[in-house]
Symmetry: C2
Subunit: 117 residues, 2 copies
DNA sequence: ATAATATATCAGTGAATAATGATATGACGC
DNA sequence: GCGTCATATCATTATTCACTGATATATTAT
């Protein structure tokens, strides 16, 4: 995207598009989706997420930090564990909407060679 | 994400996570969001999209190809123009859901330094 | 205090991908 | 046909970003 979008009007629309893109990027990664999917079943501590996603522990922690910063998950310390949970039912809803959309466009998405599988 | 996920079980969940991620990536770019946003107001031909998004013509065409392959937009030839449109109201709905979620998490998303602005 | 467990941090590396510029294709009017 | 407008293609370049490995911090138990 052009960087000289800092024009006279810096209108709210442009700002919101950047935010939207950033939020979408939060979801646009198999590892983070695996984490979010696991958390949709209820809160989990980190090592449980590591088990279920089969990702490395630092990798899970890195993604959790991203998700936490973005406000997509919340965390509570429980002794030496830290329990993570989905921060809002809207997130679950969004994931469901995507699945619904996917039923329509799954074939196309598979076929689209613009990014990696 | 690990590539050796081609295990014994190649279960549907894993496949769907990849699909979901791929679909999200379709939305996770400011240029494509700008194009989709413009099309939410009604069908447009390419040079109209170029005007409104201020992206270069090849760039718009590249993104349109991606969106078309993914099934997120559809196209109809009209003389020497090609008119593009949102392929399903579900897409508009999804964009609205994201905006709603964004109202909750906008601050966090801004603050998250894991990706570019 | 020491060890053990749970989680976080972060620099470095490799892979993915968005934008550009040049060029190709296709449709219309003359 | 020839020129022009509209769009598509594609290789190259530069950026972005996920993963790893090593290490740091925090909590609890002995």
């Amino acid at each position: 995207m052009n960087n000289d979008m800092t024009q006279i009007v810096t209108d709210r629309k442009t700002a919101t598009i950047e935010q939207r893109a950033k939020l979408f990027r939060g979801f646009a990664d198999p590892s983070r989706l695996a984490i979010l999917g696991a958390l949709c079943g209820g809160p989990l501590v980190v090592h449980e997420l590591v088990e279920r996603t089969e990702l490395s522990q630092p990798n899970v922690s890195n993604h959790l930090r991203c998700l936490l910063d973005c406000g997509l998950v919340a965390s509570d310390r429980d002794g030496r564990f830290i329990r993570y949970r989905i921060s809002s039912p809207r997130i679950t809803a969004l994931l469901n909407d995507v699945d619904a959309l996917l039923e329509l466009v799954a074939e196309g998405v598979e076929a689209c060679g613009n990014y990696r599988e």
